[in-house]
Subunit: 272 residues, 2 copies
């Protein structure tokens, strides 16, 4: 099943727009997992088991696995294999390189790792993006307007027709011939969210930044959702996976997802 | 020794501005290595053994290793360990993410993998770059003006003060407090090379695109070099590592590096 349909089914089945960011830092894991063979993998599996019926997508950030060195591959591969088939996995790696190299990244993340979707940095242009969109069943979520302070440095620079990030969104429309593109739109940018939704009414948004980074959840959901009360993946990572550092970390994560899901659902339109 | 000094010493010792791109595609390796335990690692070691006295830096592109899946880590780690201590290694991964994630990438590539330098995509802004430049001994080569056709799509968009890529170069000057920044400046862009050198007289340039991508070597060297006839790393990958597909592939790679080194040196200024 393609990413878009898999996401829609998970949204409906779990009545959820929650994206859980699986970004485990070994130094922050609960004592209860530290003596396991692979503490990060054990931790991830427990989080997934506790939350898979409440989320619409999981988003492991590749940097947190790459930093494990020799354990990187077995840990991320084991994590993806543990996610139930009815929940899609979006790997956050923000890759971007010339065409022949982008093909290798597509092979890495889609074929070898088994991701359903991938974040891609589009600034090297069309030939850096097409090797990913050519995987018509996979989702390609383009870095557009991010949630960090540095978003001001380049993304908001003014071009003749408006800011750079809007130009990215317009280009994404051009690249979206298979209907498999989406955008990263930071939850710390609610004043721009309505405009982004107007620019690309159909495209799914990955919305980071509503937890530790302090974004405004109500504004992000109210203005970011599409006409059907969906079309957004609201990411929380630290607020969920570190909800407790005790042996109850997985149950605490479940409670945190439940609360976030219900808060988001308050602000959703009813499907027509 | 820091990256900058290690690079300068290798340039001087080997009288070379050649950067060899170690981007091995398993489907393109010579038959002579296909029966080895790890064909890619065997191939890389043979190329390194044949060329280490003729280059100033090696540049493995992480995508080509990541695409090996479970073999990714042992292959790139074994490759870096095989490079002699007096030749620096620049890992090309074009990473860019928010600060807390960028820290994990810095750990991955600098601490775990052992790279002397890394390519970084700067478009998420200052907080996405500082975790790398904070490694004062490591080189941070910022994606600026690339060699691919898609460079036209975003990098050359006009801001109030000039094109986006010039703005990246000016920001790089700001981030360069430890003297450890450099820029990617494509060899297919010789008309912009003199301007880039004028903007950042001291910063090293990684120059891709002069081989298979068809860049103009004379113009790139003549206009890209600094006042001392150095300051550029002229990358060739396919033209060197696939110089022969026979059992003489390593010797052919050596010949190809020798020729490129000597062609580049024709156009270098003599140090003052």
């Amino acid at each position: 099943m393609n990413f878009r349909d898999k996401l829609t089914r998970a949204v409906d089945a779990n009545d959820s727009l929650v994206c859980v960011g699986l970004d485990p830092d070994p130094s922050k894991l609960p004592a209860a997992v530290q003596d396991k063979d692979n503490p990060v993998l054990y931790f991830n599996k427990a989080i997934i088991d506790a939350t898979a019926d409440l989320v619409c997508v999981y988003k492991p950030n590749w940097a947190f696995y790459g930093a494990l060195g020799a354990c990187a591959w077995p840990t991320i591969k084991g994590t993806l294999e543990h996610v139930p088939d009815n929940v899609p996995v979006l790997v956050d790696a923000k890759v971007g390189d010339i065409g022949s190299t982008a093909e290798r990244y597509a092979r890495m993340f889609f074929d070898e790792m088994g991701a359903d979707a991938l974040t891609v940095t589009p600034y090297m242009g069309t030939d850096a993006v097409e090797p990913f969109t050519a995987y018509r069943d996979k989702g390609v979520i383009l870095v557009c307007l991010t949630s960090n302070p540095g978003a001001d440095d380049f993304e908001k620079q003014q071009l003749a027709d408006g800011p750079l990030y809007e130009y990215v969104a317009r280009q994404a429309q051009v690249w979206n011939t298979a209907g498999n593109c989406g955008l990263v739109v930071g939850g710390t940018q609610p004043e721009h969210m309505a405009r982004m939704r107007a620019l690309v009414p159909e495209m799914p948004f990955l919305i980071p930044g509503i937890g530790a980074q302090g974004g405004d959840l109500e504004a992000a959901v109210a203005k970011g959702q599409n006409a059907d009360g969906a079309g957004i993946m609201v990411n929380s990572s630290r607020g969920i996976i570190y909800a407790s550092d005790g042996p109850d970390f997985a149950e605490a994560a479940r409670q945190a997802v439940l609360e976030l899901r219900d808060r988001i659902n308050q602000y959703r339109k009813q499907p027509a």
